[in-house]
C-alpha cells in the first residue's frame, strides 16, 4: 500500500492517474476558490476529498471536468495531469471521452427528460450497441430507478434523483469517476448500498474514484487515501487510518468530543468554537 | 441672406425612407432631386449659387421623420425642404415645418391633410389621392364597358388606402354602378387568397387595387389561379418598373392613373437620358416615377428661388411660389400652379395601361384635368 509520503515524493515513485499541482482557480476574476491545491489520485483507488462548505471541493471537480467557464471560473495557475497528459484546454466532452465522468453536486438531472433518457445521455459517449448492457447494470444497482424509467425525472423525489444521477454517470463506464457528494439526500440504507457499489466498482472493475463527501466517517471507511481541504488548499492528507486518528478530524469531521472516542450528542455542542489547528 | 444661403450655395434638405423596404421609393425620390440639382448646377446654378441637398433617412417611421426634419432645420440649417416621405410621415413633420416657417414642397404622397388647413409655407404638387381611385373606375365604366359591371376594391387599411377608397366610392356613385365588395387588408400582407376568394364569391367583373408593388402582383396571381378575368385598375405606384415586371406573368392589362410621366413615357425617357448623364449608376438604377416626382419638386422649388433674384429669403421664396402659375415641366406633368387657396398644384392625370407581354406600360390618354 501507499506510504504517507509527501506528494512530490510519491509522484516520483509512481505516476499517478491524476495529478493536480498548485491549482489556482478564480471565479469572476474576483473570488479565489482554490489556491495552490495539490493532490493526486492513484489508479484503482478510491480517494476521498473532504472539507467544509466552501472549501473548494466542487471547484476541484469542475476544474477537472473543464466546466468552470459557464460560471465564469478560470484556472489561473497550476496544472491538471491525467495519465501523463495535461487536461488544460480540452473541451468537456473530450475529457469525458478520456474516461472521466462526474456526478455533479445536487444531481443536476435533465429534469424535462425521462429517467431512461437521462441514462441514455449518460452513455452518450459510448457506442449504441453497448447501451442496453449498461442500462441493465444500472438497473441492477438501483432497482428503484428501473421502476421509474419512463417517468419525467424532474418529478422524482430528491433521493430518487440522486440515484439516477449516479446511474447516469456509470452509463459511460468511466475509468475515473468523480463523485460530488453522492450521499446527498439519500436514506441511510441507500447510502450503504451506494458505498457498497462504489467499493465494488473499484474492486471488480478497477474503476478509480475521486469521492467528495461530507460524511467523513463513511468516506474514509471505503477510501484508500484521503485529503482534507480548507479554504482552497489541501491541509491534511494520509491514509484513512491516519486521518481518523487525527484530533481535528475527530472533532470536526467525526463529531467526537476531545480525547473521547465516542460521538458526542448534538445537544451538547458548545456555543463557542475551537480553532482548527491546521489553520493556525 | 437667409439661413442656408451663402454667396455661393443654397442648402436644401429632404427626408426620405432611405433604408428598409420603403427605400425603393425614397431612394428614387432622392435621385430625382439629385438629378434636378445636378442639372441646375451644370447650368451654373441659380443666380450664381450652386444648390446642395442633404437627404435624411426616416426608415419610414413617422417619429423618426420628425427627428430627421428637426435635424435638417436646426442642425444642418437648410434653407428649404424639397422632398418628403409618406403621408403620415409628412403630417407628423408639419408642426415643425410650420414653426420653422421653412418653404416646403410636397411632391410625393399628396395627402389632403397636408394642405387643409393651409400651412403658409407648404406647397403640394399632385391631385388628392382619391383621384387615383376615381379616374380608373370612371375609365372602366366609360370606356371598358363596365356600366353594368360588379365592382370591388381591395385597399390598404390606412389613411392612404382610405383616400383611395373614397375616390373609388365617389366614382361608383357618380356612375351609378354597383360596388359589391370593399375589402381592407393590413399593410405588409403577402397572401391574398382569402380576399381574392371573396371577391370571386361576390362575382366581381372589375376591381380596383389599392395595393403597392408586390401586393398587386400577388393579387393578380390569385386572380389567375382562380380563373378570374376582371378589369383591373390601380394607383400610380402601379407603374413602378418592379410592379409591372412582377405582375406581368399573370397577364393582366391593368389601368394606372398618374400625374407624372414615367420610364415608359417620352418625357420620362428623355429624363432618363438626362439621369444617365448626371447620376451615378446606383441612383440611375433606382429611376422610376418617384424620380420624376423628386425632379419636378426640386425644379419647382428652384423656380421659386430663381424668381427671387440674388436676394434669397424664405419669405421671398414663399411669396414667389404662391404666385407660381402654369409652370411648365416639359411634359413630365401638366402645368404646375400654386396660386390657389390651398397652394396645391392639382395636376391633370394621365391614364396608362400595362402591356404584360413586354412588361412595359403604354399611355391611354393625355394629361387630363378632373
Amino acid at each position: 500500500m501507499r506510504l504517507p509520503w509527501s506528494i512530490t515524493a510519491a509522484s516520483l515513485e509512481r505516476a499517478a492517474m491524476l495529478t493536480i499541482t498548485n491549482l489556482q482557480v478564480y471565479y469572476d476574476r474576483a473570488v479565489e476558490a482554490l489556491r495552490d491545491a495539490s493532490f493526486e489520485v492513484q489508479a484503482g483507488q478510491i480517494v476521498a476529498l473532504l472539507g467544509s462548505n466552501g472549501a473548494g471541493k466542487s471547484t476541484v471537480l469542475k476544474s477537472i471536468s473543464g466546466v468552470l467557464y459557464p460560471e465564469d471560473g478560470e484556472i489561473l495557475g497550476g496544472s491538471i495531469a491525467y495519465e501523463g497528459t495535461s487536461l488544460a484546454g480540452l473541451a468537456p466532452h473530450e475529457i469525458v471521452r478520456r474516461g472521466i465522468v462526474q456526478v455533479p453536486e445536487g444531481r443536476r438531472l435533465f429534469d424535462k427528460l425521462t429517467v431512461e433518457e437521462n441514462l441514455l445521455m449518460g452513455g452518450y459517449s459510448r457506442p449504441l450497441g453497448e447501451i442496453n448492457a449498461a442500462l441493465d447494470q444500472v438497473f441492477t444497482l438501483f432497482p428503484d430507478v428501473k421502476q421509474h424509467r419512463s417517468r419525467v425525472s424532474g418529478y422524482l423525489s430528491g433521493g430518487q434523483q440522486q440515484m439516477v444521477a449516479i446511474g447516469r454517470a456509470l452509463m459511460s463506464r468511466p475509468r475515473l469517476l468523480l463523485l460530488d457528494e453522492p450521499s446527498l439526500g439519500l436514506a441511510p440504507q441507500i447510502i450503504a448500498e451506494i458505498f457498497g457499489a462504489i467499493r465494488r466498482l473499484r474492486d471488480e472493475q478497477k474503476m478509480t474514484v475521486l469521492l467528495v463527501e461530507q460524511n467523513a466517517q463513511l468516506a474514509l471507511s471505503v477510501a484508500d487515501y484521503g485529503y482534507i481541504m480548507e479554504r482552497g488548499r489541501v491541509v491534511l492528507d494520509g491514509e484513512p487510518s491516519k486521518l481518523l486518528s487525527n484530533e481535528d478530524v475527530k472533532e470536526f469531521y467525526l463529531g467526537m468530543g476531545a480525547g473521547v472516542d465516542q460521538r458526542r450528542s448534538m445537544r451538547d455542542v458548545k456555543h463557542y468554537k475551537r480553532r482548527k489547528r491546521w489553520l493556525s | 441672406q437667409d439661413v442656408g444661403v451663402t454667396a455661393t450655395e443654397i442648402l436644401l434638405g429632404e427626408v426620405q425612407p432611405m433604408s428598409g423596404p420603403a427605400s425603393l421609393i425614397g431612394k428614387a425620390g432622392a435621385a430625382g432631386s439629385k438629378l434636378a440639382i445636378a442639372e441646375i448646377n451644370a447650368k451654373g446654378g441659380i443666380n450664381g449659387r450652386k444648390l446642395r441637398a442633404i437627404y435624411e433617412d426616416d426608415g419610414y417611421v413617422p417619429a423618426r421623420s420628425v427627428t430627421a426634419v428637426k435635424k435638417l432645420i436646426d442642425s444642418e440649417k437648410v434653407f428649404a425642404l424639397t422632398g418628403t416621405t409618406g403621408s403620415s410621415h409628412m403630417v407628423a413633420m408639419l408642426p415643425t415645418i410650420e414653426e420653422a416657417k421653412i418653404p416646403t414642397i410636397v411632391h410625393m404622397a399628396p395627402n389632403p391633410a397636408v394642405v387643409s388647413p393651409r400651412r403658409p409655407t407648404v406647397f403640394m404638387i399632385g391631385p388628392d389621392y382619391d383621384l387615383a381611385g376615381f379616374v380608373p373606375v370612371s375609365y372602366m365604366v366609360e370606356k371598358l364597358g363596365q356600366k353594368s359591371g360588379k365592382f370591388g376594391i381591395l385597399y390598404q387599411d390606412d389613411d392612404f388606402g382610405k383616400a383611395l377608397l373614397a375616390g373609388y366610392q365617389k366614382a361608383v356613385k357618380q356612375h351609378g354602378v354597383t360596388s359589391v365588395a370593399e375589402i381592407p387588408f393590413k399593410r405588409g400582407a403577402k397572401d391574398f387568397s382569402a380576399e381574392v376568394l371573396s371577391l370571386k364569391e361576390k362575382g366581381i367583373t372589375a376591381v380596383y387595387l389599392g395595393t403597392l408593388t408586390t401586393e398587386s402582383a400577388a393579387v393578380m396571381a390569385e386572380f389567375r389561379r382562380l380563373g378570374m378575368k376582371p378589369v383591373i385598375g390601380t394607383l400610380w405606384a402601379g407603374q413602378l418598373p418592379a410592379a409591372v415586371k412582377l405582375a406581368a406573368p399573370s397577364g393582366f392589362e391593368y389601368l394606372i392613373p398618374d400625374y407624372y410621366a414615367s420610364n415608359y413615357d417620352p418625357a420620362g425617357i428623355k429624363l432618363m437620358a438626362l439621369a444617365k448623364q448626371h447620376l451615378n449608376a446606383d441612383d440611375y438604377a433606382n429611376f422610376n416615377r418617384y424620380t420624376v416626382s423628386g425632379y419636378v419638386g426640386t425644379q419647382v422649388l428652384a423656380e421659386g428661388i430663381r424668381r427671387c433674384g440674388p436676394k434669397v429669403t424664405r419669405v421671398c421664396v414663399v411669396e414667389q411660389l404662391n404666385k407660381l402659375k402654369d409652370y411648365n415641366t416639359g411634359g413630365l406633368t401638366g402645368p404646375v400652379s400654386f396660386d390657389n387657396p390651398k397652394a396645391q398644384a392639382v395636376l391633370p392625370i394621365k391614364l396608362f395601361q400595362t402591356d404584360p407581354k413586354n412588361a412595359t406600360v403604354r399611355s391611354l390618354t393625355d394629361f387630363i384635368a378632373y
Binding site: - | 419610414y60 417619429a63 428637426k70 410621415h89 389613411d159 433606382n286
Partner: protein, 348 residues
C-alpha cells in the same frame, strides 16, 4: 483607493446610495446636462430628449422584464396607448396637459391588466408571444375605433403648457424630459429598495420560494405589469408631446424588440443599465452618421445610396461586437470600471 464608508446606523444601510460620492457624481452629472442647451443644437437636444423619454419607458420595461423576469413585447402597445390617451384626453376631454401625462400612464396601467392576466399562467416566451399579440391587437383596435382615435389618420397633439407657458421649443421640452426622467429614476430606485422591489426579484429568481415567502404571484406580476405600463404610458404621452403628431406607424412591433434590446444591452435589472442601454441604442445611429459626416462628402458620395445600408450594417456589427465583449451589458462594463477604480492602485 476608495473604501466603503463606515456605517453607523441602520438608516445608512437603507440609504439610496452606499457612497456619499455617488450623490456628488449624480448632481455633477445633472449640472452638466442642465447646461447641455448651451452647447448642443436643437437636434442634439431633441436626441437627448428622446433618450430621456424612451428611457422612462425602458426603466419600466426593465422593472417588468429585468427585475420581475416577465418578457414583454407589449412595449409598443403601452407606448401607443399612452400616446393616444394623451392626445384624446387633451383634445376631446380637455384635460390639463400635464395632468393628462400622468392620466395616460394610468390608462396604460389599466389596459395592461389585459396582458397581465395571461401572464399568471404563462412563462417565458409563451408570455412574450401573448404580449406580442397584445401589441398587434392594440394597433388593430386603434385603427378600428375611428370614432375615438381617428383611425389611421393619426392625431395632432396639443403642446404641454406649464404655468401658462407652452413647452414647444426643444430647449424647454428638454428640461421637462430631464425632470421627468430624474423623477422616474428616483421612484424606481425607491421601489427597488423596498419590499416591492425585493418581491419582484424573488418572483424572477424562484417563484415557488417567493410564494412561500408570502408573496402573491398574481398580485406582484400584475403590479409589475401595471407599473411598467404606467412608466411606458407616461413615456408614450411624452413622445406624443414631443412629436405632436401620432399614429400607429410610430409604434410598430419593432419598437418592442428594440426596447428589449435596450434593456438587454443595458444589463438586465439595473436602473443605470436601462438608461445607458437606451442611450446607446439611440445614439449609435447618430454617432454613425456623425462618423460618416466626418469622413467627408467625397466619401459619402462614393458610397452613394448604399450608405444607409452600410450604416445599418455597422449598427448591427457594433451591437454584436459589444455583446461579444461584454455579455452582461453596459451595467457589466460599469461594474468592471468601478471595480478597477475602487481597487486602484491595487487593481491589476
Amino acid at each position: 483607493m476608495r473604501t466603503r464608508s463606515y456605517k453607523t446606523s441602520y438608516s445608512d444601510l437603507v440609504a439610496l446610495s452606499q457612497y456619499q460620492s455617488t450623490w456628488i457624481w449624480a448632481i455633477a452629472g445633472l449640472m452638466v446636462l442642465a447646461f447641455a442647451p448651451v452647447v448642443l443644437g436643437s437636434h442634439g437636444l431633441s436626441i437627448l430628449s428622446v433618450i430621456f423619454v424612451m428611457g422612462i419607458g425602458i426603466l419600466g420595461l426593465n422593472l417588468l422584464t429585468g427585475v420581475t423576469g416577465l418578457i414583454s413585447l407589449a412595449h409598443a402597445g403601452f407606448l401607443l396607448i399612452g400616446a393616444y390617451a394623451q392626445a384624446i384626453l387633451t383634445t376631446d376631454y380637455h384635460f390639463p396637459v400635464w395632468l393628462a401625462v400622468f392620466a395616460s400612464g394610468l390608462v396604460a396601467a389599466i389596459a395592461s391588466l389585459v396582458v397581465g392576466v395571461p401572464s399568471l399562467r404563462l412563462k417565458g416566451l409563451y408570455l412574450a408571444i401573448t404580449t406580442l399579440a397584445f401589441t398587434f391587437i392594440v394597433r388593430h383596435v386603434v385603427l378600428f375605433a375611428e370614432g375615438l382615435t381617428r383611425g389611421s389618420e393619426g392625431m395632432a397633439v396639443e403642446p404641454l403648457v406649464l404655468m401658462g407657458y407652452a413647452v414647444k421649443s426643444d430647449v424647454s421640452f428638454f428640461y421637462v424630459a430631464l425632470a421627468m426622467v430624474v423623477l422616474f429614476v428616483l421612484l424606481t430606485l425607491n421601489i427597488m429598495r423596498s419590499r416591492i422591489g425585493r418581491a419582484w426579484l424573488a418572483v424572477r429568481d424562484h417563484d415557488i420560494a417567493a410564494r412561500a415567502m408570502g408573496i402573491s404571484l398574481m398580485r406582484y406580476k400584475l403590479l409589475a405589469f401595471m407599473v411598467c405600463a404606467f412608466y411606458t404610458g407616461v413615456a408614450g404621452a411624452l413622445v406624443a408631446l414631443q412629436t405632436r403628431y401620432i399614429n400607429v406607424d410610430t409604434f410598430s412591433i419593432l419598437v418592442s424588440i428594440e426596447a428589449l434590446a435596450m434593456v438587454i444591452v443595458g444589463g438586465l435589472g439595473r436602473v443605470h443599465g436601462a438608461l445607458l442601454g437606451t442611450a446607446l441604442i439611440l445614439v449609435l445611429p447618430e454617432l454613425l452618421s456623425f462618423g460618416f459626416s466626418l469622413a467627408g462628402d467625397r466619401f459619402t458620395t462614393l458610397l452613394s445610396d448604399r450608405i444607409y445600408e452600410i450604416k445599418g450594417l455597422l449598427y448591427g456589427v457594433v451591437i454584436l461586437a459589444f455583446l461579444r465583449l461584454e455579455p452582461e451589458g453596459l451595467a457589466g462594463i460599469w461594474r468592471k470600471v468601478k471595480r478597477f477604480w475602487v481597487h486602484w492602485p491595487l487593481s491589476q
